[in-house]
């Protein structure tokens, strides 16, 4: 990859991205047409006695005569006496020099053998044709939507008992040094055994990741209870959990999709005129016992957040660095205001009925990142009994919800912090990386394609603990060459100063690519 990666799209410097893509599409189309002339031939000999049953008129027929001469016939047929074959063609001598041409009548008794040759388009052309069509489609999509093709966040792969599963993404909203933040992700599907575990931290995008620390938090649990974290980083024991009542699904949202944390996600599509348009879904729950209750939601963002961030960078264009620096100079308040553009969109709000039948907000769950599905607990107020009706308010098309559960909550728990005890990069021990993660004055910097394995010593027995990953740091998104074509400082300022208006302006553009974005995003990971 080398220098390609720094140009984002990997386009030669002497071509603009769009020009290169159009050229590729045209060239491959020409080659596709040219390839249609690549054929194969299947040859068959037919004895004179069998020619009567052959399919008449099927292409050219060669009649090899006893004397060595040959007829090459087209539009041929057996005559009514069944003794002659008649067709238009050429009569050639044994040196294949032309004797006669036109309507020929050949006596079957004088033919030694017939020969047919069928010409087929080569299967190789079909195979390359399929690849060409797919390749051109990718090129066209990249022309129309370069921002769907790249990007991710710091990602953590954790053992789920069978394989390494993407279970956490670190500090996804920390896109500048002044936005450095601590992020806690539940490793809800982790299954650890033995004395140690290895978590793989990767950089799969054109980003520079600056990691201050990546610690494992272990919280003791009392099976079958689980431990969940709230958005304000508290850890609570969850005693019982119930799924929404599928039979009461009046909203048609597909309640069964959110019954279990199983990868089957509920999601909706964005509004076509205003990306900030909200929607509410109502769920009915059976009553459960307990003293305090909460709503547990396993979710990740759709790629709308990624799109908005990248589109903003594209609008900033060559001035992105300057604008970010200016935002940073004005202090955390200014840059937080910029970040709130996404956060306003990103809350999952839970509403409950009050005593007079009005829906009131019970709080929000907030988590940034479209990659790893994270489990969060919203603790309901202490005076709320087991709610039978709950409404979830989200921005249309902004979330993918894997599980929504009503839970009874026990005691608050304190986590046990576990620092990494070993680190390796690309399989080689890296004491410097470990030292950086253990000293908060230092940072571990990773570049696209970097993989760092972090080793943690587990409390014993490991299955008696719930695990969370706490990461702190920030990352710098690399400007892509093809984004620069959309530089528009006025739009950049509109996003920063008037995000509500910008969300309406961007709606149509996002709707054009919304359906394909998820697929292309996941196929565009960067790996060495």
């Amino acid at each position: 990859m080398g220098s390609w990666s720094q140009q984002g799209g990997g386009i030669p410097f002497f071509l603009s991205y769009r020009t290169a893509c159009v050229a590729v599409v045209l060239l491959l189309s020409v080659l596709f047409i040219a390839g249609c002339g690549v054929n194969t031939v299947s040859k068959q000999l037919i004895a004179p006695a069998q020619i009567r049953s052959a399919q008449h008129g099927s292409g050219f027929l060669k009649a090899h005569m006893v004397a060595g001469d040959m007829y090459v016939l087209n539009d041929w047929r057996i005559d009514s006496t069944q003794t002659r074959i008649i067709g238009n063609g050429n009569h050639l001598d044994w040196n294949r020099e032309l004797l006669d041409s036109g309507l020929c009548s050949v006596l079957l008794d004088s033919v030694v053998i017939f020969e047919t040759n069928e010409v087929h388009p080569s299967a190789a052309v079909s195979a390359l044709g399929l690849v060409t069509v797919a390749s051109v489609a990718v090129s066209i999509i990249c022309i129309a939507n370069p921002k769907a093709c790249f990007g991710s966040c710091p990602t953590f792969y954790v053992d789920d008992g069978d394989s390494l599963l993407l279970q956490a993404e670190g500090f996804s909203s920390s896109v500048a040094p002044s936005l450095e933040a601590t992020d806690i992700d539940a490793l809800y599907r982790a299954k650890f055994s033995g004395a140690t575990t290895t978590i793989t931290m990767t950089n799969e995008a054109y980003e520079t990741h600056v990691v201050r620390h990546a610690d494992l938090l272990a919280v003791e649990k009392s099976p079958p209870g689980r431990i969940m974290s709230t958005s304000d980083k508290q850890f609570w024991e969850v005693l019982e959990s119930v799924a929404p009542n599928v039979n009461a699904d009046q909203s048609g949202m597909g309640t069964s999709l959110v019954a279990d944390f199983d990868g089957d996600e509920w999601f909706s599509l964005a509004d076509s005129t205003d990306l900030s348009t909200k929607e509410e879904i109502e769920l009915q729950f059976p009553t459960i016992n307990g003293e305090r209750f909460g709503i547990a939601i396993a979710s990740r963002q759709s790629l709308m957040s990624t799109y908005l961030f990248y589109q903003t960078l594209a609008y900033m264009g060559t001035g992105a660095g300057e604008i970010f620096a200016a935002l940073e100079r004005r202090g955390p308040a200014m840059i937080s205001e910029f970040r709130s553009f996404g956060e306003d969109l990103g809350n999952i709000e839970v509403l409950l009925l009050d005593s007079v039948g009005n829906w009131k907000s019970a709080g929000v769950i907030r988590e940034t990142g479209p990659l790893a599905t994270d489990m969060h607990l919203l603790l309901l107020p202490p005076d709320v009994s087991s709610p039978t009706s709950v409404r979830i308010r989200v921005t249309k098309g902004y979330w993918r919800l894997d599980q929504i559960a009503l839970v009874s909550v026990g005691e608050q728990r304190m986590p046990q912090r576990i620092h990494p005890s070993g680190a390796s990069r690309q399989g080689n021990s890296d004491p410097a990386a470990l030292a950086a993660l253990l000293d908060d004055a230092l940072t571990l910097v990773t570049l696209p394609g970097d993989t760092v394995q972090l080793i943690y010593e587990l409390p014993q027995p490991p299955q008696d603990y719930e695990y969370f990953l706490e990461s702190r740091g920030y990352y710098l998104e690399w400007m892509r060459e093809n984004w620069l074509e959309q530089e528009d400082r006025a739009m950049a300022m509109q996003v920063i100063t008037n995000p509500q208006s910008a969300l309406k302006t961007l709606a149509a553009d996002y709707k054009r690519i919304e359906a394909q974005m998820e697929d292309y995003f996941w196929r565009s990971r960067y790996a060495k």
């Binding site: 799209g9 990997g10 590729v24 031939v41 040196n95 294949r96 020969e115 010409v119 054109y206 565009s524």
Partner: protein, 194 residues
């Protein structure tokens, strides 16, 4: 960047050509696939003889009778008893696979327009293209060994056997599409068994 592209293009082209079957016939001798249904000549044959190490013959496949193979070589019509023949390698037409090689090379290089998706699309292009090009290059080739001589008949100028009425010295070689190229000379008139 340009030198890198050239390097990658060259590497892909080399990879493609490595697994391909080259033409065994003289240049401009073979028909295109589309011309085969009207072409009256036999396939080009490369014959490995069993009469001694390195004994070899090649030319147009004229006829294959139950016991004799007739080849119109560069200098004369040659006839070999099948007990002298170890292997016959045939090529019936020009596979035109270089078009696929060019197609694959350009397609592979085009994946630079895919950004990081090229990590998937480039290998797909190279693997599919290599298999497709190699497959096409081998399509017109056929190797026949002892026990399979009957398969040669379909590829002869005279698939029904050597016509009795022909004076073998009068059998002429196939004219090249481009006459200035080297071609098999006029045949020897003896036509005897070697």
């Amino acid at each position: 960047m340009r030198s890198k592209l050239a390097l990658y293009g060259g590497a892909i082209a080399l990879l493609l050509m490595a697994g391909c079957a080259g033409s065994i016939a003289p240049k401009h001798w073979l028909p295109e696939a589309i011309e085969v249904p009207q072409d009256g000549y036999g396939s080009w044959a490369s014959v490995t003889l069993s009469i001694g190490p390195g004994e070899f013959s090649e030319g147009e496949l004229i006829a294959a009778t139950p016991d004799t193979l007739f080849i119109l070589g560069y200098e004369k019509l040659e006839a070999y008893g099948f007990n002298e023949v170890a292997k016959v390698h045939l090529q019936s037409y020009d596979a035109n696979y270089s078009a696929l090689a060019v197609w694959t090379t350009i397609g592979s290089l085009s994946t630079i327009s895919h950004g990081v998706i090229l990590l998937i699309s480039a290998p797909v292009w190279i693997i599919t293209g290599t298999i497709a090009t190699s497959s096409q290059s081998h399509a017109p080739h056929k190797t026949v060994v002892t026990g399979g001589w009957k398969q040669l008949q379909a590829h002869c100028r005279f698939p029904g056997g050597m016509p009795q009425s022909i004076d073998r010295k009068d059998i002429k070689p196939k004219p090249l599409k481009f006459p200035d190229q080297k071609s098999p000379d006029q045949v020897d008139t003896s036509g005897g068994i070697h």
